[in-house]
């Protein structure tokens, strides 16, 4: 090609320019244009070869240019002719790319149209939900105003109280506490010697310095300075537990106390009241106490001894003096909240209207259904400790009444509304029953007290124990569909990419966040493959109808019918109904939890009847049927995991009452242990649910 081009280097400028512009207008592949260029220039060369002078060449060239005719028309003709020359495979590829381009363009237009659909809100499902839940009773019988006041009056616990509480409740914290207790006891004498040597460092601190450090310990974060260039320039923190372990390790190994490994910076521990500012001032003013590490270690060890040394192994054992010292003030602060909570629980029903503020652009299920649940849960936890404090202060009657209050309040959220509310109520109910069993296990009640308690407890659920009700959840789901799909259009409405996340809060994308822009193409693609509105509603109704039936089946019935706890909708085409997959609750598991609540209640009533029998007969009955025959129990409790009566066995002066649990097998009354932790509700692999005797300690 370079040879061909070199032929034309002596052409007159007008000819070169003509060819150049012609080829530019031709707009075709470079290789073809180069070919045409070479051929045309050769033509000019041949035409001009006989010209004698430059002038003649110029004139002749101009004549030839004119003879070539209209440049634009010629360019088009050349282009068309050359296109016809190309091989079939090249034509196919070109047409394919053109078709793909057209398709992409169409798709972009479709996607834009798709993204900007608007939902049509036709049905006020929230009003229907409220109508469903509102009983035809007087307002004065409604518990909600009392609960609402209690929530407002509630004083949250300090981080210190929260920790002290979790040393009993939270398995991780409890394990830490028990480990430290053992370390403290095992090294008691060495620790005492260490105190004798180091106490002076603490005593040398000013009152203000001591106050700041003790405040830090209240938040369970221990501060220590970082030394750079031989002077402290920043603070690091570690947890009270880690610091205690570090100190005891140093004492045990008789090594010099070193700076512990940092768990974080001040910002990590910066609860609003954490004295970060004071600590920073110590650095600025260079007033960090000398031997800070030894001084703070004295305080840490003292605090650890106080918290852990006398902590009982038995989780239901009476509260220690220290626990009472920490928890009682918090309970007293909440007396007003407690009174309202107790008043509410005594009411016959609880109606809290669901509300949706259309001005708030955040319509997620959580915002409508759940704002009261977290405060309610905190109130219940406070009530549990209210009951325990009363129990350990000798006010047994009041403690029992507290437990009944908890169970009564649970009843207010059962068998209606959303599943999450019903599940929370199951949790509350279980807490109440658990506390009652703890009292029965530790304290001796008279026959009259047992009878009264049994009557009061059974009166809370005069009919059958409430199971799961899915109708409220169905309405909520229909509302979300209504707000996430267009109403018409091809196929009966489509899922609007930007809306479904807004109304479900599934991805929790901030509307101003660039995440939303990043996710939008994926959401659009996902919405395109999702089933249309009509199909989604039909599928959801089909599943709810099925689940309404299956939630009334015991776990055992589901087991023998091969209906898994993992619900059947999970096996359907997930890409077409992923919204159902995401939003529809696992009703199989929820239904199982309701049955657990039921059996917990019935087992508690049975245990009360057994204790009454024992007091009347000085021994336990041979079988539960005897309780029924004696009129102490309406009917033997049916284990939902076997559809047979709970397993009852007389033991040495005591008895065992248990359910075979979710593995549907009798494990002879042994609870499941996994990773060194007890699973009191069993696991799918092993373990029974033991109601009596009440578990006393964490298995080691």
């Amino acid at each position: 090609m370079s040879d061909r081009k070199s032929d034309s280097k002596n052409l007159p400028a007008c000819a070169v320019e003509y060819v150049r512009r012609l080829l530019k207008k031709m707009r075709y592949r470079r290789k073809v244009r180069d070919d045409v260029e070479a051929e045309l220039k050769a033509h000019f060369e041949d035409e001009l070869k006989d010209c004698k002078s430059d002038k003649e060449r110029q004139q002749r060239a101009r004549y030839l240019v004119a003879d070539f005719g209209d440049m634009k028309l010629l360019a088009i003709l050349l282009r068309r002719a050359k296109k016809r020359c190309r091989p079939l495979w090249r034509t196919v590829i070109a047409r394919t790319f053109q078709a793909i381009g057209v398709l992409i363009l169409c798709f972009i237009v479709y996607a834009v149209w798709f993204s900007f659909g608007e939902p049509t809100i036709r049905v006020d499902y929230i009003r229907l939900l409220n109508q469903m839940n509102q009983p035809q009773l007087l307002d004065q019988d409604n518990a909600w105003p009392h609960y609402e006041k209690a929530i407002k009056l509630f004083v949250p616990q300090s981080p210190l109280v929260e920790k002290v509480i979790s040393y009993r409740h939270h398995s991780g914290d409890r394990e830490d506490a028990m480990r430290l207790k053992k370390m403290l006891l095992d090294n008691e004498s060495q620790i005492q010697l260490w105190f004798e040597k180091n106490q002076k460092y603490w005593d040398n601190l000013t009152h203000e310095q001591q106050t700041v450090l003790l405040k830090c310990l209240e938040y369970n974060w221990v501060p220590f300075p970082i030394i750079a260039y031989q002077s402290p320039n920043d603070w690091r923190t570690t947890t009270l537990v880690r610091m205690t372990e570090h100190i005891i390790r140093c004492i045990k190994e008789d090594t010099e106390l070193t700076t512990p490994t940092s768990s974080g910076t001040l910002s990590l521990s910066s609860a609003p009241e954490y004295p970060s500012d004071e600590l920073k001032r110590w650095i600025e003013n260079n007033t960090i106490p000398p031997n800070h590490l030894q001084a703070v270690s004295v305080a840490v060890l003292n605090e650890a001894i106080k918290r852990f040394k006398n902590l009982p192994e038995d989780i239901s054992a009476p509260l220690t003096e220290i626990e009472c010292e920490y928890i009682r003030p918090w309970i007293e602060q909440n007396e007003a909240a407690w009174q309202q909570y107790a008043a509410g629980s005594a009411k016959s029903y609880c109606y809290r209207p669901y509300t949706f503020d259309p001005n708030v652009q955040d319509y997620s299920i959580m915002n409508i259904l759940m704002p009261h649940l977290a405060p309610l849960r905190r109130l219940v936890m406070m009530s549990v400790w209210h009951a325990r404090i009363n129990r350990d202060q000798g006010q047994l009657k009041q403690s029992i009444e507290d437990c009944l209050t908890i169970v009564r309040s649970a009843r207010h959220w059962q068998n209606k509304g959303s599943i999450i509310e019903q599940l929370v109520s199951q949790g509350i109910s279980n807490l109440g029953h658990e506390e009652i069993l703890n009292i029965l296990s530790d304290r001796k009640l008279s026959t009259a007290e047992l009878l009264k308690l049994q009557e009061q407890l059974s009166q809370i659920y005069p009919g059958d124990y409430p199971l799961m009700n899915l109708e409220g959840e169905r309405l909520v789901f229909m509302d979300v569909i209504q707000r996430s799909f267009t109403d018409g259009g091809p196929g009966g409405g489509h899922l609007i990419p930007g809306m479904w996340d807004e109304y479900t809060g599934y991805l929790a994308l901030d509307s101003d966040d660039r995440d939303k822009r990043i996710f939008m193409p994926f959401l659009t693609a996902a919405s395109m493959v999702h089933a249309r509105r009509d199909a989604t509603i039909a599928k959801a109704n089909e599943i709810y109808d099925l689940q309404s039936k299956t939630t009334k089946m015991t776990p055992y019935e589901r087991h023998v019918s091969n209906i898994k706890a993992v619900d059947e909708y999970e096996s359907m085409h997930s890409y077409r109904f992923f919204m159902i997959q995401i939003l529809m609750p696992a009703t199989g598991r929820a239904s199982e939890l309701a049955y657990r609540g039921k059996i917990h209640h019935e087992a508690t009533l049975t245990i009360l009847a057994l204790l009454r029998w024992r007091q009347e007969n000085n021994q336990y009955p041979a079988a539960l049927d005897e309780l029924v025959a004696a009129g102490l129990l309406k009917e033997p409790p049916v284990d939902p995991y076997s559809d047979k009566p709970l397993v009852y066995k007389k033991t040495n002066g005591d008895f065992t009452l248990y359910s075979v649990g979710p593995n549907f097998k009798d494990d002879t009354g042994e609870i499941a242990i996994k990773h060194n932790r007890p699973y009191k509700w069993g696991t799918d692999e092993d373990g029974d649910i033991v109601f009596w005797p009440v578990a006393k300690s964490m298995p080691r």
């Binding site: 040879d3 070919d35 050769a42 010629l74 068309r80 002719a81």
Partner: protein, 113 residues
């Protein structure tokens, strides 16, 4: 002589095929040959010649290839293909028929060599 464009357009491919049936030529040679052989009655504008050649090439009636001319320069030579010869024969037969018809109409004043 200026012909009606449609008239020339109809016969130009046959003329080119006929000239090429005598041997391969490049563009310039071809345009010169047409003028000479037609006694300068037929002149194919350069703007018509090359699109016409490319179209004939697309129809596989002619074949173009770069070769070195006697002057030592590269030129694109066009030669008639087998299909081109068939097409030429067909077109010539049609033209003969047309001329016969036209002769009858015009009293023998038109003849095709």
């Amino acid at each position: 002589m200026k012909f009606e464009s449609q008239l020339l357009k109809g016969v130009a491919p046959v003329v080119v095929l006929e000239i090429l049936s005598g041997g391969q030529m490049y563009g310039y040679e071809l345009s010169q040959a047409i003028e000479q052989r037609s006694g300068e009655i037929l002149t194919l504008g350069k703007g018509t010649l090359y699109p016409l050649l490319y179209n004939l090439e697309a129809k596989k009636l002619v074949q173009g290839k770069w070769e070195t001319a006697g002057s030592g320069r590269k030129r694109r030579y066009y030669s008639i293909t087998g299909s081109g010869k068939d097409e030429l024969a067909k077109q010539k037969a049609q033209l003969k028929e047309l001329t016969t018809g036209l002769n009858l109409v015009f009293g023998g004043a038109i003849a095709l060599a």
